[in-house]
Symmetry: C2
Subunit: 205 residues, 2 copies
Amino acid sequence: MNKGLLIVLSGPSGVGKGTVCTELRQRHKDLVYSVSATTRVPRAGEVDGVNYFFKSKDQFLDMIARDALLEHAEYVGNYYGTPRDFVERTLASGKDIILEIEVQGALKVKEKFPQGVFIFLVPPSLDELKDRITGRGTENSDVIDHRMSVAVEEMNLIRYYDYAVVNDQIDSACYRIQSIITAEHCRKDRFIADLETMKEATEKA
Amino acid sequence: MNKGLLIVLSGPSGVGKGTVCTELRQRHKDLVYSVSATTRVPRAGEVDGVNYFFKSKDQFLDMIARDALLEHAEYVGNYYGTPRDFVERTLASGKDIILEIEVQGALKVKEKFPQGVFIFLVPPSLDELKDRITGRGTENSDVIDHRMSVAVEEMNLIRYYDYAVVNDQIDSACYRIQSIITAEHCRKDRFIADLETMKEATEKA
């Protein structure tokens, strides 16, 4: 009856998108994970169509040319992108699909798929984000300062999103995201088509 | 920090607004119930400021003149209305407030308070609504037909609302409404003001 929702989960580097997304999928078994296409060589144990859709560079460039990707980017010499077809087939089957992606990629998806639900994960405070960025490795303070200024720039992109979810505790962040998904399914626009069907059924009866 | 939300729960006659509202307040102890003003005489046990704000007709007309009501209506010779002040003081204190109201009243509230969250409770089917309307008493079929046509008219007002919640089971209806409240608290517009505060705090530190 109703189509599924595309949930786009983004936020600044270091905010914990991956952890939250993994936990959400654990709790919400019918939430489909958007599988990226890549030209990267598969690592041991990675399965085509599960971890990634593995493509040759020519295949990938052809996907770009056919507008078959909702977004794509090059990273360390490899291409990564979000296949439109996989997203659309999942939605048509009535299932929700979640795409975990960095902030710039999310905005590209929004251009092609404005009907998605765009969720921005935010740190409890900028100090907390700095702690998380610092805690990642042994980078010197210039690197950390640069990452922080990038993260603050990324935070400003929140205005293009629909929702802001504070990642203070994974449990409450997941609860809020699940609430957003439930609420979005209740939007009246989604219901109005159903109402017409309901009236027709009553008139026939 | 953030203001509370005005949640307006409405829907056609017979859909079960009162039952859902009572259950929600049971589950959600910090959800304040919007107390109406009325010129009706208090019944035994009714407490001023809890069940209603009891007003003389002059006091009520004065409230209308001062634009102190978000909506009002006359019913069987008595006035009923929603005091704006009670709603605004509750929201300013950071608490959410729920207003259970029939569909026309809700639209008047929307004119004066468009930032409210407008939820339309819908029956699982129009047949189900007919059963509920029929089940209320021993009215003849003309009365029932009239009520049904009113209910169908009321259903069409759903387009002015934000959300449609199917009242198939009280448990799932309450779950959906609680999700909507949680999601609305995550709207990015509510967060952006907090972000400015967050940046200032970091700059000072």
